[in-house]
Symmetry: D2
Subunit: 285 residues, 4 copies
């Protein structure tokens, strides 16, 4: 069990050029912090310096609660925006699901193997299918009382989730969330869309793909924003299809894609590898 | 050098169920034709039986010029629409190109290795870049006299190409062809579009992809129809990109995709593997 | 629920050239059988004609129990070896498993969605891990009484499985089966090996891959024969790795590969798509 | 045209933990060097810190010729081994080729588009095929006087290449180089092997792959060492094959793989992205 801190940060150019790496690493060394991994990136417009930095907390002589205060001068000098995360914190995750439970089953299994370092605090369904699976994995399952009423359902979910939930995963949750709900969990809701976005936005993407006669189908995981299927893309993948494949075959092949693409996004989010800017993601892998 | 005939055919269901395979194979056996390969396909709507059939012409006792006449009763009985092609016929191919010549260079090289069984009868450019390459491969190069004038250019091309050309390949030809020109060569023009269609239709797809922050970029080869980037898709492929990639990197990575995806489509067309119906392709590979 | 018959057959060339397709399709038509799909293949050495043929049993006027008798003359004339399978028969499948249960969990989930058309009659483990999972899916679980004793375990399994089992799936069963056991279930045991065979045969392939510094890791599903990891390959796939990946990362990435590659092989076997000859497989997909 | 310096370095742990990043970045800042990109990596055994660092030379107040002298104290303190490369230096590359010229044609075309930032100083062939292609690209072509005599050929090549050549690319050069020749250009010879190493080492890998019935074929680019096909792997890729593919099809599909896999390796080498240790490569992409 590692005991490290991760800093995801951005700093505007040309300010960053004047030694942001030196300043930060200097700061960490001064507090006896040993850098385990750093990866940085100049955004292609060359306006922004983006970086992920991980250091060992064993021996680090600054209480992490005082980090912000002490780091303040460095942050100000380089106009650094940052997010600090600790490896020993286990994020609280809620999963929303509808009738199709393959992504849910996949996430629960991965969680059971230790692949997803989080606590799954609850599953909310607008359909009862997933209940036995939730029980098997000993995760509380909550069935929405009135799944047809979207506003009421969101109110109900907000109450259930509260402020404690760090991440909401839409594991094929087939209801579009309203802006109010989304606004409460900005960049903390990950969705899986069963197409290679921006192709086939909206409903029934496999049918759309079938009708267009594409030779590959895809899946896309992304953060949810107010724009339908328009949020920052985290991960995408595709699989080959042919004229032999019916819509049912596309659905079947797509299930495997969806599981892979959603679970990668969730894992990267939990491992603090994702930095969002300008409606895009930088994934430090 | 093989001496075979290929039949690409369709027959409506439920008529086809009443023995179309038996009838055709019976017909061929009756003329001492030995089937080398057959592959058939029931379209997912189960409305149409589609098939590719190849047989040896050595020993086939029916002169191929009389095939249509003798096959007529079978065709009528099952309402078969078919296309007959002979392996010893070398299709005549013209290539249209603009400033970027990577697809052209790739096609010419493949042709030189024998990978594309055709005669490349000419290259038409609206830009002089490709001239030396054409010369090296000893293929006539024609520079359009007034490349800015689309109507005039198409008239000029129609004159040059005439009726003898079996296939026109748009190897990154950056001019949209008019409906009249397209109508002259229906399902005989193959284009490469540098995106994963239907995502990023139209101009500058790599810039569009970059702006959207996708994690894969694609290329699509398709038959040209009156609808921009809307014709039957023949082949698609993708390559992974990341936040590190600039638009220039996308362009570079895309070049390799375009070459592969276009050359596969051309080869399959030349090998009589493609059957088009309902704005889709069946590729018998 | 379809009601069809599938014929997987081979016939030696040049005998097959003399009308094997016509003869078989003629035979089926004579009995009012309507061919739904046929796909054939001439092996590259051109010695053998291989084919898969599926026809509708609705209206087929020959009782399937009398098929062999009536088909005999055709089979003899073309020296056809064949396997006849019926779509309404649900094969009986047993799964062998050790401590790692990801492939088992995957197979059971797929089975629950209807993706694998079979009855899973039992799970045998040389380790108790998989018991709760088996219980959840209501499949009998049998723990080997003396898992260290290979001979004794095989005797125990033979007794449990008997002759009724159509397919045995080794879902990461980490014990090499003896020739006697294998001989009892020839071409009816499918194994998943966690490497891209023939690279990294034997134990700890992910460690071997890591040590060699490969840039892709793979998984291979194959029929089990007397030669270790040497049986006919059914399916393979790979995933990219980099210097950042530890052996644990390889194991994690590999799990996803193994699940996909094993489940495809099992599905294809159950759907009668696989024909084995010369220690290779023809997969009609 | 950028004017930057790249440092590829390693430093043993736990020494590196005591502030190697801070010390180097501090050193650069002190000389007004602005870091454009840094990427580091702790090898999985956690014994070695590996890093790539690129900084802007515009404004850097230390003449690059004096870098070594001034950097010495930092290097000694952390036992840093490093390689310094300048973006404005164009490496000199020689290409060795036999009868198959697809990789050569590909490299020359890429070079012509600016994709490979180097000077191709010569092509040496043990077969005359590639001569016209070399002429077209205006690169000197040298045909070995006695290609059958391996020792004599290597002597001849050593004379031709001298010490000035930075990189030798074996573009399907079908002759195994002796240890003496290899020793002269350690980690400066890149080969393409037409299999997914370590599968199918040695001669005729496509035939070996065909005989084994694999479902994917691969290609591997690697640095040449004294062990046949055993040097550090730089890049690998695969393509799907099926029972329909003859050995000739494998060869054809393989050509595309070989071109991609070799050209990526060459580009990464030229862009100073590759760090070799323990017979493996770290590729900073």
């Amino acid at each position: 069990m590692k005991n490290t801190a991760v800093l995801l940060l951005s700093s505007p150019m040309p300010l960053a050029r004047k030694g942001v790496v030196a300043a930060i690493s200097q700061f960490l060394v001064a507090h006896n912090g040993s850098i385990l991994h750093s990866d940085d990136h100049l955004d292609p417009g060359r306006d922004l310096f983006l970086s992920k930095l991980e250091w060992d907390l064993d021996g680090f002589d600054l209480p992490i609660s005082e980090f912000e205060e002490h780091f303040q001068p460095v942050a100000e000098r380089f106009m650094i925006k940052y997010h600090l995360a600790l490896s020993d914190y286990r994020p609280k995750v809620a999963i929303l699901v509808s009738a199709y439970d393959h992504c849910l089953a996949d996430l629960l299994y991965r969680h059971s193997t230790g692949e997803l370092a989080c606590d799954i605090v609850g599953i909310i369904g607008n359909h009862p299918t997933a209940k036995p699976l939730a029980d098997f994995h000993q995760v509380p399952f909550h069935l929405l009382t009135n799944p047809q009423d979207k506003r009421e359902s969101e109110r109900e979910m907000l109450e259930l989730l509260g402020q404690e939930v760090d991440l909401i995963v839409l594991a094929r949750y087939m209801q579009i969330l309203g802006p109010e709900f989304v606004g409460q969990y900005l960049l903390r809701i990950i969705n899986i869309h069963h197409s290679f976005l921006p192709a086939f936005i909206g409903a029934k993407p496999y049918h759309q793909a079938f009708d267009r006669g594409v030779k590959l189908i895809g899946a896309t995981s992304h953060y949810v924003t107010a724009t339908l299927d328009g949020g920052p893309i985290i991960e995408q993948d595709v699989v080959r299809v042919s004229h032999r494949d019916t819509v049912d075959d596309l659905v079947r092949k797509g299930r495997d894609l969806e599981k892979l693409v959603l679970s990668r996004a969730v894992r990267w989010h939990l491992e603090n590898r994702i930095l969002v800017y300008q409606n895009k993601t930088v994934v430090f892998v």
